[in-house]
Symmetry: C2
Subunit: 317 residues, 2 copies
């Protein structure tokens, strides 16, 4: 007899780009056996480098297992998924490619292995088409990088078995993830639709010459984002109504809101727009390298996430 929960079986990660390598590091540092499939000659080095970058992050977040593992990298899908209990697909966002690889996965993986796609926006029902066992497939899209950001969104397709959905939710939660389950699938899921909405207006404001990229980003970092990290947009609207709540707020603000919506930009990503935004962002970065800015972001985010992960009030939401 043993009180400890059963150790989940090995996890396979299919595709070792940035996201796949991030998942591999996350699962390995959570103590699971991890097998990665990627034919690229650069995959082993990327997986190893990501594991080392992730280790201090997971430690700072209090998420490093006492028995971390090291992912094994295979060049073929079959080698990685054999005997896997859970498969995290992290291929490029290409429907045809994903479907082709799903056939290879189904040919080699155990019948009962769950197939979770990291797709950032494709519909799971579309990804399920042509699968032999579509009922075990769903989307589990992480906030990137998975070893730093706590949240995943889970999207079932038309053919997903509800018990697989429940099982998958529990699996990620047992590893410390917080989960959101969509009620209906939609292109771009939630994270990227909300991001895309903000990106669209940010790009419009810069390309239209209303503000610099630096000032648009400052409006978010020093103003809106601070609030959004504490209070979601719908609660903000609710609280702005005072005792009258969202109904009061929509009565008072509704006409202005509708007018602003009607005036929001609808930029197209043509050469002129891209050039204007790239030039303004380059100016904002003032010659800082990718490594400098990425390190700065992680340095500022870790204490924030560490406190939110341990804030009982935030966790209870």
């Amino acid at each position: 007899m043993n009180d400890r929960p059963e150790q989940p079986g090995p996890v396979a990660v299919v595709g070792a780009g940035t996201i796949g390598a991030g998942w591999a590091a996350y699962f390995a540092l959570s103590g699971l056996q991890v097998r990665v499939a990627d034919p690229s000659g650069e995959a082993p080095a990327l997986v190893a480098a990501t594991l080392e970058r992730a280790r201090p992050v997971m430690a700072a977040l209090g998420r490093l297992s006492e028995t971390p593992t090291v992912p094994r990298v295979f060049t073929d899908v079959a080698g990685a998924v054999q005997g896997a209990a859970h498969i995290q697909e992290a291929l490029p966002e290409d429907m045809a490619l994903k479907r082709r690889v799903y056939a290879q996965i189904e040919a080699a993986a155990p019948r009962e292995a769950v197939l979770a796609s990291s797709s950032s926006g494709l519909l799971p029902s579309a990804l399920q088409e042509g699968m032999q066992h579509p009922e075990r497939m769903l989307v589990v899209h992480p906030n990137n990088p998975p070893y730093l950001m706590p949240l995943v969104e889970i999207v079932a397709g038309r053919m997903t078995d509800p018990s697989i959905l429940a099982l998958t939710k529990s699996f990620y939660e047992s590893l410390g993830k917080r989960t959101i389950v969509l009620r209906r699938e939609v292109v771009g899921h939630i994270f990227n639709r909300l991001q895309a909405a903000l990106w669209r207006e940010a790009i419009h404001l810069v390309a239209g010459g209303y503000a610099s990229a630096e000032d648009v980003d400052r409006a978010v970092v020093e103003g809106l984002g601070a609030r959004w990290s504490v209070c979601g947009p719908l609660e903000i609207l609710h609280l702005s109504g005072g005792e009258a709540g969202l109904a009061g707020s929509l009565d008072r603000l509704g006409p202005a809101l509708q007018a602003w919506w009607g005036d929001l930009g609808e930029p197209r990503l043509d050469a002129t727009t891209k050039q204007a935004v790239i030039a303004s962002v380059d100016e904002a970065m003032r010659g800082s390298s990718y490594a400098e800015r990425a390190a700065r972001r992680d340095r500022l985010m870790i204490p924030l996430l560490a406190s939110s992960l341990t804030d009982p009030d935030a966790a209870a939401r």
Copy 2:
């Protein structure tokens, strides 16, 4: 001879709703003489209550003056603006009302007093029409509440004197505000256009039945917002391109981004939409009162803002 900068003259706040009372508390606790104009019988109590709510917040942020004052409330505009060096207008978002009151302000205020409108979205050029001295008028729109949030956006109209713009920017910065100056005026300025973009998609996702209000807010609070409080949307896009930067990111993500943009919701705030969102937000609040949720928001935001206000890295941006 005296090394201390000259104490700015009295500030008048015209309109004592939530925003005006917040401004009055902010200026008074910053050590300035404050005169508030509001005909409502409830104004004195609201101003006093806001001052007491703001005091511990300003103290926690390290912004409480050693010589705070108490705002004086006048029922008439003329009484409040006489002798004022700076006038903060915080009337309801009603163009005709604001123009009417501007005439009263100009009849009683010193010729050289700056008139800063807190308008959340009206164009300063439109507000200047009919003014005797439009060159001293501009928009200074705060993140709300002004005693908590550090950022203001400043928008000049066609007739604003550039030296008034520079003077006004310095004035708010001398009181510890961070400023963003728009390059071109636009309906909704920056804060509310970005907020409106996020609100539109958030409302669409809930009203369309894709996700609960609670989950949409969690996607922001536990995921996107944490990142946005550290890194603006344009820098996020830039960093997601790795060494290839924004150009690489737009090449890779551009098609998906354009597809998501094409699919974003365009809800109308009709009775059905309002009802769906109000019901889902009510469910998310689980019976918490306005006071409870507002206190929670402030409690979580103060340490966040206090650290960002003293983070040299963030301040240097």
